[in-house]
Subunit: 341 residues, 2 copies
DNA sequence: CTGTTAGCGCTTTCAA
DNA sequence: TTGAAAGCGCTAACAG
């Protein structure tokens, strides 16, 4: 049970602990080919595995990073962590993923726990509510990468979607098809940059096309269980919207459920664009048009930034990657509407 | 930056390192309330966080467990790891999740890496190809829990679905609706117990109802990209099946794609039952009948077994949980067919 | 009630 | 080309 230690190997090979250590760290330069083979042999015989904990204590590197995701229920979080894990494993790093559940208290606890574990760096999609702590870390030179969500007053490496553009693209698509009454259905913004930006993109697209912004078409939901109420409100407006943009995956799913139950036809009664990808989307009837983020690649990229920072901790330079989203046009918006300029 | 250590706290509080250690480990018994407060104060002032790596080296417990899942692309793996993580985090354990990609070599590397990291235990959905190593671990008393897949010749704690029954239920459902030509579409079995059992359930259900087993209705796929070819083969049979059971989520998705493209109507041309759950299922047209495993709970349960084993390493007793699956009947099997006994 | 001491298993000068 | 020795930060007898 990993009970055998360096000393045992050393004894068996007839050398000292330090020589074995040299061998393990691939410092072969001044080692006779003969001792090297003896050590190799001894390791094989004993089944020796070096104790990474002891090593970490000494070298002050754990080769482990921490990841805190916002809400693991979202496919988005899962995809990001997969990207991170794949990249890290390929580069000999381990990953501890924690799910903060969009809860600032949990988030803080996880950050502290991961630091106590001596992780070499941190990737996080933060609530934007622990900026005091994070600021201190960044200023102390601790390797940190933000993903998905920008943080007020914190300058750090980061990987973000171009959410404003994503929204503008989606809304512009509606407009091109002749829609003028376009609703937005978003989770409550709180302090989250990506939500703010998607809202901003909605406003901007409408303005650019000189379409009046109507408060009644803009809906933020606090508890996802309120979806039905809100969608019905929209549908029962004197002039109901002809198009609806849902700005994340959970709101998209819940909206579609309600529309299906209410037998509202997509796209003839209302055109719909959703957010985020899933293998099931193209199986829907009609197949759903969505804005797709490069989630997996965002994970990979953020891991890359972090490992770079870890290798090279003194670069003061901040790198920020903005990743474009793609509007995947399927059939849930129909075709050009009649009566359009 | 976690730079402050126990000694600094001790100095500031005017006590010795060991007293601080006592405090941290909540051995208050013989500690004057006064020193206790002084230490508390000193910790607050310095922002001390104890170094878990050093502690682990000493106490030979890392409070970390390793999880190796088969294929993180499956919602199934994700759901299990979520269950594990939730339970572990609640009990002060960390989790390192590794994705073996159904690759025995990767799996072995991960096992060794996790052992080198001195994890306190391991949960795995194994390829069944590293049994030599695993057997040694179990025999050495190392805490190990199997999940989803049984292993040949290894007696260990485990949590599994009742796959035979799940299959029997699905096929019986078809039979009750009047189907007699029932096809099975499964990933290649290799050495995987859960696949074997689902196949077994298929055979058993047919036998129980005195329906002849027809080789041409039984399809195993090696590369998922072969799905189209195989499904078309089935459809073009002289007597094509009227019902199709897909035994995991990937085969289900790919099959549905092909059926949709080929404009094969579900359920009138062919009835379909899939495997595993997704929030999107009820949005399909028709909503898909599936066999649902208690994935999240399987994760929780396996974590529970593992932490028990870790607390109590000398119990020779093996606990195995078999979790029932549920057939969620939606509309993809239609109703009772005409011309039936 | 608190401090002294001896490691946990490994790395890394430095000296031989 | 190899070995001796010190120490990473913490814990746990044991002594006082």
């Amino acid at each position: 049970m990993a009970r055998v230690k360096m000393e045992d190997v050393a004894k068996l090979a007839g050398v000292s602990k330090s020589t074995v250590s040299q061998y393990l760290n691939k410092r072969y330069e001044y080692m006779s080919i003969e001792t090297r083979q003896r050590i190799e042999q001894a390791i094989k015989e004993t089944g020796y595995q070096r104790n990474v904990v002891a090593r970490s204590l000494k070298v002050k590197k754990t080769h482990t990073i921490g990841v805190i995701v916002a809400n693991i229920l979202h496919y988005f979080s899962t995809a990001i962590s997969r990207g991170i894990e794949d990249y890290c494993n390929k580069h000999g790093f381990n990953v501890i993923v924690c799910n903060a559940d969009d809860n600032p208290v949990k988030e803080r606890e996880y950050i502290e726990m991961l630091l106590a574990k001596q992780v070499d760096g941190l990737i996080l999609a933060s609530t934007n509510e622990n900026n005091d702590l994070l600021k201190k870390l960044v200023e102390g030179g601790f390797p940190l990468v933000l993903v998905d969500r920008k943080l007020d007053g914190i300058e750090a490496d980061g990987v973000f979607s171009n959410n404003v553009k994503a929204s503008v693209d989606a809304i512009s698509h509606f407009i091109k098809l002749g829609h003028r009454s376009i609703a937005l259905f978003s989770p409550a913004i709180k302090k989250l940059s990506q939500r703010k930006e998607r809202y901003e993109g909605y406003l901007r697209a409408l303005s650019q096309h000189h379409i009046e912004i109507q408060e009644q078409y803009i809906k933020f939901v606090d508890k996802i269980s309120d979806t039905r109420k809100i969608i019905l409100e929209l549908l029962h407006l004197p002039v109901p919207p002809t198009a609806l943009f849902c700005t994340n995956d959970l709101t998209t799913i819940e909206t579609l459920k309600v529309l299906k139950e209410e037998k509202v036809n997509i796209p003839s009664d209302i055109a719909v664009i959703g957010f985020d990808d899933s293998p099931w989307l193209q199986l829907l009837e009609p197949p759903l048009t969505t804005v797709v983020q490069q989630t997996y690649d965002m994970g990979v990229k953020s891991a890359e930034l972090l490992l770079n920072k870890i290798e090279n901790p003194h670069s003061k330079h901040c790198t920020v990657h903005i990743m474009d989203c793609q509007l995947i046009v399927r059939e849930s918006c129909g075709f050009l509407r009649a009566g359009v300029d």
